[in-house]
Amino acid sequence: MKLVIGIVRPEKANDVLEALYRAEVRGVTLSRVQGHGGELDRVETYRGTTVKMGLAEKLRFEIAVSDDFVDAAVTALCEGARTGEVGDGKIFVMPLDRAVRIRTGETDHGAVTPVAK
């Protein structure tokens, strides 16, 4: 059981969701985050104040999956989020100790994208 975290461009959200859906990965959490990953800074000017924007808007997908679905989720994130330009984002895969589905009390593999395929 793993937690897959994908940081992607906001405008690629729909493409990523579509790719995850096609890969039969169910259950995602999405949050708006700001980050910096080496992309060129934007210079913005507000009246006399000129600033370099070090942080860019990103979306953070969190997807808990059983081991069999890790590759599918990672592939889907890559396919959906890639533009080829600097700033496409990152994917992190982390071990997951425990998962509980609150409604039913199911735990672990019963609570994440299923093993059976």
Binding site: R9, D41, R42, V43, E44, T45, T50, K52, G54, V86
Partner: protein, 438 residues
């Protein structure tokens, strides 16, 4: 126009008329900002400022072109297609009354300028979220002269439609049909947004939309109420009709929303306000209050239909200028030919009151004006497009036009923003190490 013919013999400036027209001019100017808010709410948050700026740019560009040549082409002389150049660069525009009115020529000029400005701003609704700002400025400047000024001459300034008796109180020809059908042409030439038809592209702030529509309605009292160029019966009638017609459009729109989706929508209501104001624009001072209410109610039907149908096509006429202005203006110009009443306007009867000629000339205007606006805009944008790119790249479109075109964001947080002294210092000594992009 023409409604004050009866008092045209008065050669002196009337203080009351002038006071109202100064106010009305300011009201119409506020409409352009209201429209900016309305449009800005309808686009995605990353394009808020660019969309608003297209309206602000109309204030800049169209005012200058109007003072330079636009006003003269529209309002100098009785040429059948265009006016003369006698008022170019405001020659002869001074304190003496404009012919046929009791207000100083300067006030007349300023009032008409505010119409040119908002019409240019209206067209921008077709190309938001992807057109390059520079190309838009060039387009706005040329369009305000080649399309707006010409059609203003046809409808208001003594051109062939006006000379043959076509009625247009406040701009069904030059403002509404011109902007609506030009918007369709602009959408076709500039092309759809890259995600159009693939992803849901939703309004980011419905409150802006409703507030913008409210400001537009408020300003429209000056727009229609000022188009009698005074405080006479025509202005009073148009003013009250501007209250009645949109209210009826709202009621019918609510009903249509209920039938279609079982819920009355706020953005639908904002749209209905615009449609109602537009349909009464050509008819304002020419029809009875009762007919004004009927026109408002009737206009909801074709406009609602086009607004439901258009997004199912490949035509990304983004903010539905065609439906809300083109179709509503067309409806108003045409129905005015049926229901105009000489007992109310002192000028002419419509078909229902025995004057078939009136309907004929309304129908001719409703055919000729959209054709000219569409073709002229299509050709103009093709020519501009041959000289410079009309739209931003796909990458820029994804990033959002606010950052790309203006270097600003509407909803900036300031987190992670590093002060720099000058733009060109951005690459070097900022004190904060930044990873080098590979």
């Amino acid at each position: 126009m023409g409604a004050l013919d009866a008092v045209a013999v008065l050669a002196a400036v009337d203080t009351g008329d002038t006071a109202w027209m100064l106010t009305a001019t300011a009201l119409v100017l506020l409409m352009t900002v209201g429209l900016g808010l309305f449009y800005a709410g309808l686009v995605r948050s990353k394009n808020t400022l660019n969309t608003f700026m297209m309206c602000i740019a109309a204030l800049a560009v169209a005012t200058v072109t109007w003072a330079a040549v636009g006003y003269s082409i529209a309002f100098d002389g009785d040429g059948s297609i265009i006016g003369g150049f006698g008022h170019a660069f405001l020659q002869g525009v001074d304190f003496t009354p404009r012919d046929g009115t009791t207000i100083p020529h300067l006030v007349f000029f300023a009032f008409q300028a505010s119409f040119c400005i908002i019409t240019v701003a209206l067209v921008s609704g077709a190309v938001v979220e992807r057109m390059r700002f520079g190309a838009y400025l060039v387009f706005a400047a040329l369009w305000s002269v080649l399309v707006y000024a010409v059609l203003a001459h046809w409808g208001f300034g003594g051109g062939w439609l006006m000379a043959n008796g076509t009625l247009d109180f406040a701009g069904g020809i030059a403002v509404e049909m011109a902007s609506g059908f030009s918007a369709l042409a602009a959408a076709l030439v500039v092309g759809a947004r890259k995600d159009y038809g693939r992803q849901a592209l939703l309004p980011h702030n419905a409150v802006y939309v409703v507030l913008g529509a409210g400001l537009l309605w408020f300003g429209w009292f000056g727009f229609n109420g000022g188009s009698g160029f005074g405080t006479g019966n025509a202005s009073v009638l148009a003013f009250t009709n501007t209250l009645l017609a949109p209210a009826c459009t709202l009621v019918v729109w609510f009903a249509l929303d209920l039938i279609r989706g079982r819920k009355v929508t706020a953005i639908g209501a904002a749209t209905a306000i615009i449609v109602g104001c537009v349909v009464i624009t050509p008819a304002g001072g020419f029809v009875s209050p009762g007919w004004a209410m009927a026109l408002g109610a009737l206009a909801a039907l074709p406009c609602y239909a086009v607004i439901v149908w258009r997004p199912r096509t490949r035509v990304d006429e983004t903010l539905d200028v065609l439906a809300a202005h083109g179709i509503a203006g067309f409806t108003g110009i045409l129905l005015l030919g049926l229901v105009a009443q000489e007992s109310w306007n002192g000028v002419s009867d419509g078909l229902l009151y025995g004057n078939a000629d009136q309907f004929l000339w309304q129908a001719i205007a409703a055919a000729a004006v959209p054709a000219y606006a569409f073709i002229a805009t299509f050709v103009l944008l093709k020519v501009i497009g041959a000289v410079m790119p009309l739209r931003a790249s796909e990458h820029e479109e994804a990033l959002g036009m606010d950052i790309v075109q203006h270097g600003e964001e509407a909803y900036v947080t300031g987190e992670g923003a590093i002060l720099i002294s000058a733009p060109d210092a951005a690459e070097s000594e900022t004190g904060v190490p930044v990873a080098n992009p590979v």
